[in-house]
Symmetry: C2
Subunit: 193 residues, 2 copies
């Protein structure tokens, strides 16, 4: 079975292709260099579907795409779908610094947050989606060198260190993305039977 | 009847004192120069209560305070209680520019927002509160010279101009603050009978 990953990022295709290829027999992940749609959805799911639908429409091959972000409870779920450009541009450092400034000295018990990842799969058999949620809280300052995005200011539930301080293998076994991928793998193995 | 307005801003006391004095017979609004508490509440009401309680504890006179902000639907109600320092500092221009950047080219039908104002009243007879909501949407650019805060990027429902383009008398007859004050006035007149 072939699946197009709706991203122009070849590194992501290689990385995810290795993971999915090991988990689903005969699965081949393909890159995508077709038109990139405007992500103007109002939810993670809508944005993931917009990308997957565009790739499926262009290639005719079952396509997947994801959308993810950090949802902060006291901000009503924001930054959410705006996580990647929270400070106005696509600058992870600025995004993190802004979120820390906004929360200021909000007490630990009110800093609950979660990383969210939704994967959409669009093909001849229809559309489906899988969502992984990684609960935790927003730290009060940056820590750690691993990871990217909001990892250095996100303390996962059950830990006292940030996601950027976890070994990649640890993070990759429990992250929002890992949980969404687990569901995708179960689904793909089920429909392959 | 005397009420302390829990703010160090003498201009606010004069302005609101004139409005309330005209609406409630015998009402005298007093200023406050006592300690200012940390506003660490998680809602408009909590923050207003924190300020009113502190003034009442210090003066022994019935005290009022308000908290207000802009709630954007697609941001889950944010900036909300963080409106005044959304960009990290107390800079209205930076706050507005950040909110416009965050929403980017989000379509008009998804830009719903509301100005919210909660007034808390704390005194020997207990605590009560009044909330005014002014619905509208976030504009795509700044317009207008009147008003302050988010006024230049807020288009009230029923208008095609921003709150900063409205004549002050028009704004002051329908704003979130006006609606909350109306309720306070009704309450004060009712308990005075």
């Amino acid at each position: 079975m072939q699946i197009v990953l709706a991203t122009h990022n070849a590194h992501k295709v290689t990385e995810l292709g290795a993971i999915l290829g090991a988990a689903v027999e005969g699965l081949e992940l393909l890159g995508y260099d077709g038109p990139e749609p405007v992500e103007d959805g109002t939810s993670y799911l809508e944005n993931a579907l917009i990308k997957a639908r565009a790739a499926y429409a262009h290639t005719g091959v079952t396509s997947m795409a994801d959308d993810s972000g950090i949802a902060v409870e006291i901000l009503g779920g924001s930054p959410g779908i705006f996580s990647a450009r929270w400070a106005g541009g696509r600058d992870n450092v600025a995004n993190r610094q802004l979120l820390l400034s906004q929360l200021g000295d909000v007490a630990q018990e009110h800093r609950a947050a979660a990383f969210v990842c939704t994967i959409a799969l669009v093909g001849p058999d229809g559309e489906t989606s899988f969502t992984g949620i990684w609960p935790g809280r927003v730290a009060t300052e940056e820590h750690g060198e691993h990871g990217f995005g909001y990892d250095p200011i996100f303390i996962p539930e059950g830990f006292e260190v940030t996601a950027a301080e976890l070994e990649p293998e640890v993070k990759n076994s429990m992250s929002h993305r890992a949980l969404a991928l687990e569901q995708l793998v179960s689904y793909l193995n089920a429909i392959a039977e």
